[in-house]
């Protein structure tokens, strides 16, 4: 695992395979994500998009294949010719390098939004509260919530909650951010405020994998679009190509329905 | 366990029966006696103090044995287990000597107490003897031996004579049984004569009816393996009877009629 981090892609996904019982959800997925790249993942419901993201930060244990961040395998340790699953703090350290934003926000309802953002810093990174606090406030300001730091999540709108969730993930200074349909649970008018924050992030060079149904966002922001169906990558390429001129039937029929 | 604060005299090797005690008790200088402190007038609590006829007897016993008394309030459930686990050496109180119990422990009999009939004041049903209980309901205490037996016997007799039978309910303890008499749920209680007298003197709502009957031995319990303690107890009771303390104490509690001439071992016959 002594690979030179500057030579390989930031994220490498190889032969990633996952089944739930008899249902194969990912059947050998391969792709890379370069530093600073924004990749949008599209596909019908049940095609395995969420499972792909969850395997990347090892919330789900793959059945075969690997995910590597800066050349380091995520969730496993190599012992001889086999991979052994990591546990405890080592896995936690790897996960802390990958931020994730969920469809249902998943903020901690018993903590104010400032505390939500501080949580990772103070508990995982063990930063003292004094130094963590200014950074948390700065992040909340950046997502436009400077005035709400002492509110509880349930007292915010969905859009505001999702922006807090993004700030919470950013606080860990992740190398890669994963977004899983992070606007699908929002009222249409609130979608744009979250997408705006994500566009800013992309502009600032954050590496991102975005599972979304917002075709317009994919067209504007994505460097690359991946279209998944039934656990496979059916088509991928620059956003303009895939969205404007899909090569595969399945992609075409899907786009027709959601656009 | 609650050691009695009043009994903290040091071991007295000069006491008449000190040398009758087994070595381990001599060494500790303490005799641990257990009993349930909820049965007046035998052993009960007066405020924070343990008192009663049997408590006085215990004090007198350790006096002639030359050791200190450590009283452990020991509810019925824990008496045998307490003896076996050596939490206590002896159990005393309202404990009758019966054949069944002789199978479990050795019983040193030191008193003979009859049963009495307790009725509401004025004895509205005019019940004066176990022979005219037909049609009445008897309340008793669970596990006390005679009441249920008497009720069953009399029930049979009444039925045979073509009269209404005798009902019986057993309660957890004497207090619950007394409530049953007060609410007229039961007409009469059959219980230990001393307890009956105490109750009728204390509450004014009940009185003792007729004559005492069917006396039985009260005993101090020791494990069958502890013959040394058993023999020491027999000797101690003999000494108390002979030096007059025994009679004095019984008189103090109005229980002179329960006196026996000499202690016996496992003499219960029912």
């Amino acid at each position: 695992m002594e690979s030179d981090p500057t030579m390989t892609a930031l994220l490498q996904v190889r032969r990633l395979t996952k089944a739930f019982g008899s249902l194969t959800v990912l059947s050998g997925v391969d792709f890379d994500v370069e530093r600073g790249e924004v990749v949008c993942v599209l596909g019908p419901s049940g095609s395995g998009k969420s499972t792909l993201l969850r395997c990347i930060n090892h919330l789900e244990r793959p059945d075969a294949g690997v995910v590597a961040l800066e050349g380091e395998i995520v969730g496993f340790r190599r012992v001889g010719q086999a991979l052994h699953e990591l546990r405890g703090s080592e896995l936690a350290r790897q996960r802390s390098q990958i931020g994730m934003v969920f469809q249902r926000f998943n903020l901690f309802p018993h903590r104010t939004i400032l505390e939500n953002v501080l949580e990772g810093l103070c508990v995982v990174k063990k930063e003292p509260r004094d130094t963590a606090r200014p950074r948390a406030l700065e992040l909340l300001d950046r997502v436009g919530l400077a005035g709400k730091v002492d509110s509880y999540p349930n007292h915010l709108s969905g859009g505001q909650q999702q922006r807090v969730a993004i700030a919470r993930a950013l606080a860990m200074r992740p190398k890669l951010m994963l977004f899983d349909e992070c606007t699908s649970a929002l009222d249409p008018e609130l979608v744009s405020e979250v997408l705006a924050v994500m566009k800013d992030l992309a502009r600032e060079g954050m590496t991102m994998i975005v599972v979304t149904h917002e075709i317009a966002f994919a067209r504007d922001v994505a460097d690359r679009v991946i279209f998944m169906d039934a656990g496979n990558i059916v088509e991928q390429g620059p956003a303009g190509d895939v969205l404007g001129n899909p090569q595969v039937d399945r992609t075409r029929s899907f786009l027709a329905r959601v656009m | 366990g609650s050691a009695d604060p009043t009994a903290d005299t040091a071991a007295n090797t000069q006491a008449p029966l000190y040398n009758r005690l087994p070595e381990r008790i001599q060494k500790s200088g303490v005799l641990k006696i257990g009993g349930s402190a909820t049965v007046a007038p035998y052993v009960f609590k007066d405020g924070n103090e343990i008192v009663g006829m049997d408590k006085d007897l215990m004090d007198a016993l350790v006096g002639v044995l030359g050791v200190r008394l450590e009283f452990h309030d020991t509810p019925y459930e824990s008496i045998i287990t307490g003896l076996k686990s050596q939490r206590i050496d002896v159990a005393m109180g309202n404990l009758s000597d019966t054949r069944e119990r002789q199978a479990v422990a050795d019983l040193v009999d030191y008193r003979m107490v009859p049963q009495s009939l307790l009725v509401p004041t004025g004895n509205p049903k005019g019940l004066t003897s176990i022979d005219n209980l037909c049609g009445a309901v008897v309340a008793g205490v669970a596990g006390s031996l005679s009441d249920e037996q008497v009720a069953t016997e009399q029930n049979g007799k009444c039925k045979a004579a073509g009269k209404p039978g005798v009902g019986f309910s057993a309660f957890q303890d004497a207090t619950a049984a007394i409530l049953a008499v007060q609410t007229k749920r039961a007409d009469i209680m059959i219980l230990n004569g001393a307890v009956a007298t105490y109750i009728s003197n204390t509450t004014k709502k009940t009185e003792v009816a007729g004559k005492p009957f069917r006396p039985r031995y009260h005993a101090a319990l020791v494990l069958k393996t502890n013959t040394d303690i058993r023999d020491a107890l027999v000797a101690a009771f003999t000494e108390l009877i002979e030096n007059g303390t025994y009679a004095k104490l019984l008189a103090k509690w109005d229980l002179a009629y329960t006196a026996i001439p000499a202690p016996r071992v496992n003499a219960g016959t029912t």
């Binding site: 190599r78 012992v79 690359r224 | 287990t81 076996k84 957890q172 619950a176 609410t183």
Partner: protein, 294 residues
């Protein structure tokens, strides 16, 4: 079509990501788990042997009394009492929970008072009170409010130990069940009531057809705790000359001093009854869980 950019290196003995992607993922092994299992089992066996061979446990006495008539009668009474009490308590609990959540202030205050009193007073006291009700009300009926003269049935003819136990346990458990049922109501989404109302159901129909069936699923596990509680709690009837399982063994050991073996007899029966109840619960939950989960 892919833009794979990783170098296929295998220098200094480290495998490339591509090589590793072909490696076997080791099956999860838990040596600690197996050692722990072993240690726990050995300790348990040693403990069981140690307890089993202890003469103080009196296994012969246990065997002798396990199927004794008096004990079996006690088991029957305990079961009958428990089932009736739980039925009463559940019905009462539902009524009180509906009152508490009705939004009608008189009803909800009455429910709160009921809960406070019957949950707060020791059961033993309640049992003794009910059994000795005649002490306070010699006659039941108008006489209770207006005085002796106004008549009513004689209290002692109505209230025997069984009725007293039903009343005391029923009211006490009813109070506890009302909290459980109320919790169940809170666990049902508001949308369910609204859907029922917009179909044109009345409040009673909504309760019967929509709320209660769904509450059932939520309240079965905590009710089970209560069932077990009542099963064992009925031992208190010993104070009012009742005849449940525990009091029947108490009667026996009061005579023969075999306290430990007879308590073991009672424990075996209680564990058996609880186990049967747990199995029943499993099937009830499975039936009620139809339509939920996977």
């Amino acid at each position: 079509m892919t833009n794979v950019s990783s170098a296929l290196r295998d220098s200094d003995g480290t495998a490339s990501v591509d090589t590793m992607a072909t490696m076997k993922i080791a099956p999860v092994r838990r040596p600690v788990q197996w050692i722990a299992t072993g240690v726990v089992l050995i300790l348990l066996v040693l403990l069981l042997v140690s307890v089993g061979r202890n003469p103080n446990m009196g296994w012969d006495v246990v065997g002798h009394y396990l199927l004794d008539d008096a004990v079996l009668r006690g088991v029957r009474w305990t079961l009958v009492l428990t089932v009736l009490i739980m039925a009463l308590a559940t019905a009462l609990g539902i009524v009180v929970a509906v009152m508490a959540t009705s939004g009608n202030r008189v009803l909800s205050a009455t429910a709160a008072l009921f809960l406070w009193f019957f949950r707060g007073t020791p059961l033993l006291v309640q049992i003794i009170f009910w059994f000795n009700l005649a002490l306070i009300f010699p006659r039941l009926g108008p006489a209770m409010f207006l005085g002796e003269g106004f008549g009513g049935v004689e209290t002692n003819s109505v209230i025997n130990w069984f009725v007293a136990a039903l009343l005391a346990f029923g009211l006490h458990q009813g109070a506890i069940m009302s909290e459980i049922v109320r919790g169940g109501f809170l666990g049902i989404e508001r949308g369910q009531t609204e859907a029922a109302q917009s179909l044109g159901m009345t409040a009673a129909q909504t309760l019967r057809r929509v709320l209660l069936p769904q509450t059932l699923r939520i309240i079965v596990p905590p009710s089970m705790n209560q069932f077990v509680d009542v099963l064992k709690g009925t031992a208190l009837v010993a104070f009012i000359a009742g005849q449940d399982l525990l009091s029947s063994v108490q009667f026996i050991y009061a005579k023969n001093f075999q306290v430990i073996p007879l308590l073991i007899v009672a424990s075996i029966w209680y564990l058996a009854l609880v186990s049967v109840a747990t199995v029943v619960q499993y099937f009830v939950e499975r039936r009620l869980g139809l339509g939920y989960g996977k």
